[in-house]
């Protein structure tokens, strides 16, 4: 029984060691700004199309679904506020993070994993660079900056999607929808909507890096590490989301 638990417990311990080392190294030089910018490009610009699509259609679907429920109370005019609140608080952060997890946790894990199995990580260490500084830190910083931005963009196109339905299908006026949405959102919601992706960004980048760096066993190992990175980071995002929501609800 203890033997079964030993593996996962050791992994979790190693994961927090890596995270601790990365956070401790954050203020330390060298910072490799070029790598950070490069990662921001891959992560942010690269994920933009899919984030736009997912954000837009979740706004559309939400407006359609909510309008049915609201109609039974004769409150179709409340579509704006409801779409805004669900998007900013929950759907925007979680959906964007899941999409980015699928795309970038996998990307990070497979890239670092291939570097590990071809001895490039060892070579890096031999040639005077710390992989934590050179590989992990830029990815953490880039994700932590880009994911909240992507979430804000997804929120906005989601609202836009909701507006198209509200205006075209539900026959609300433009000002009815946008004023309602604008008034419904409080500072609390915006805080929640930005803190969440910030935390999930740490999960995505650290899980991706961790799975990549501990890859063993050739190309097959790389595939395994990639799958693991996506599954583990997605599960963590959902679990953490429940906790963070709970905290904000009781605030």
């Amino acid at each position: 029984m203890l033997d079964i638990l030993k593996g996962p417990v050791l992994s979790i311990q190693e994961f927090f060691q890596l995270t601790g080392r990365t956070l401790k190294n954050l203020p330390k030089r060298p910072h490799y700004p070029r790598d950070i910018l490069n990662q921001m490009d891959i992560l942010g610009v690269g994920s933009l199309p899919i984030v736009l699509l997912v954000g837009f259609f979740s706004g559309v679907v939400m407006a359609l679904q909510m309008s049915r429920a609201l109609r039974t109370y004769g409150a179709v005019s409340q579509t704006g506020p409801i779409v805004a609140i669900t998007l900013v608080r929950e759907m925007g952060p979680v959906l964007t993070s899941i999409v980015v997890a699928g795309r970038n946790a996998a990307g990070i894990a497979s890239e670092l994993g291939s570097m590990k199995v071809t001895e490039q990580i060892d070579a890096m260490r031999a040639l005077g660079t710390d992989p934590v500084q050179k590989l992990v830190k830029p990815r953490l910083i880039a994700t932590a900056i880009m994911l909240p931005c992507l979430t804000a963009i997804a929120d906005f196109v989601g609202l836009l999607g909701g507006y198209l339905i509200a205006y075209g299908v539900l026959k609300l006026t433009t000002s009815e929808y946008w004023n309602g949405a604008y008034r419904a959102i409080e500072y609390n919601d915006i805080a929640q909507g930005l803190i969440k992706p910030f935390i999930y960004a740490m999960v995505i980048s650290m899980v991706g890096c961790f799975c990549g760096l501990r890859t063993t066993g050739g190309t097959q190992g790389v595939g395994l590490a990639t799958t693991q990175a996506v599954v583990v980071s997605s599960v963590w995002i959902f679990v953490l989301n429940a906790f963070i929501t709970q905290i904000f609800v009781t605030l």
Binding site: T118, E119, Q120, D122, A123, G128, T129
Partner: protein
């Protein structure tokens, strides 16, 4: 470089088992052994990429056992290493690969111009001066190996470690690579450690010297004797089973050891 009763464990049978040896400044060493005998592990342990579970490792007379990663960089800067599969960074060009240690090692302060010049020199030395802008994936295995050699030597380290420099290459290319290593060794008087499965590699290391005047390899001595300060080691399943000169190696009657010696 000195190992004192070093054991390296990955769980299961130890990869290195109670290994002790000493390589002095300016000497060279050829490490033979079949696949999986622990040759790569020796080199990685020597520069602190792997950590021994028992014993002590010394590099330039400093005890590096159990040193933290951050404290290793200054001493690693004095060592060059060629990895078994070259381990070039495939997202970087050949020029960026070779300049990597120059740019990233704190002890080296060169401006862009000087860096470029050093890289070009190092690549010209391995006869690849025309590939600066290419990516590693565009080169053949032998060319990648030579880029790896240039990268290991570009900082002019006092100690150079070569992991299987000829593995997977045809005999002609392999001999060319060995000639390069001899040239590199004799021009800079660097301490050289070569890990290999091919006894011929050791022969070349032992029999030839680079002659500066003619720019060619010459027999080290007229009677077929060996380069001084060169010793052989033979590894078997993590154990060091032989250490001595080429002549002693030739006299060994142990069947495993003499497997590595070609008798003409």
């Amino acid at each position: 470089m000195r190992f004192e009763r070093v054991t390296v464990d990955f769980g299961g049978q130890p990869a290195l088992d109670d290994v002790s040896f000493d390589i002095r400044n300016g000497e060279s060493r050829v490490v033979l052994g079949e696949s999986g005998s622990g040759k790569t592990v020796i080199l990685k342990t020597a520069i602190g990429l792997l950590h021994p579970s028992k014993g002590r490792v010394f590099l330039f007379n400093e005890d590096i056992t159990g040193r933290r990663e951050q404290e290793m960089f200054s001493i690693r800067a004095r060592v060059g290493m060629l990895f078994q599969e070259s381990a070039l960074f495939d997202s970087l060009t050949i020029e960026e690969n070779v300049s990597y240690p120059l740019v990233n090692q704190k002890s080296i302060q060169l401006d862009e111009e000087q860096t470029h010049q050093r890289v070009e020199e190092a690549l010209t030395f391995v006869e690849l001066g025309h590939t600066l802008e290419k990516f590693p994936s565009e080169l053949s295995g032998g060319m990648r190996r030579r880029v790896g050699i240039a990268r290991a030597n570009v900082t002019e380290p006092a100690l150079v470690l070569y992991d299987s420099p000829t593995a997977g290459l045809d005999p002609i290319t392999a001999n060319n690579i060995m000639a390069l290593l001899v040239k590199e060794r004799d021009l800079r008087n660097a301490t050289t450690v070569i890990v290999t499965q091919r006894f011929q590699d050791g022969q070349i290391m032992a029999k030839y010297r680079f002659d500066r005047d003619s720019g060619e390899l010459r027999a080290a001595s007229s009677d077929g004797g060996s380069v001084s300060g060169l010793k052989f080691m033979v590894m078997r399943e993590g154990k060091l089973v032989f250490e001595g000169t080429r002549e002693e190696l030739g006299l060994s009657t142990d069947p495993y050891i003499s497997k590595f010696v070609l008798r003409h």
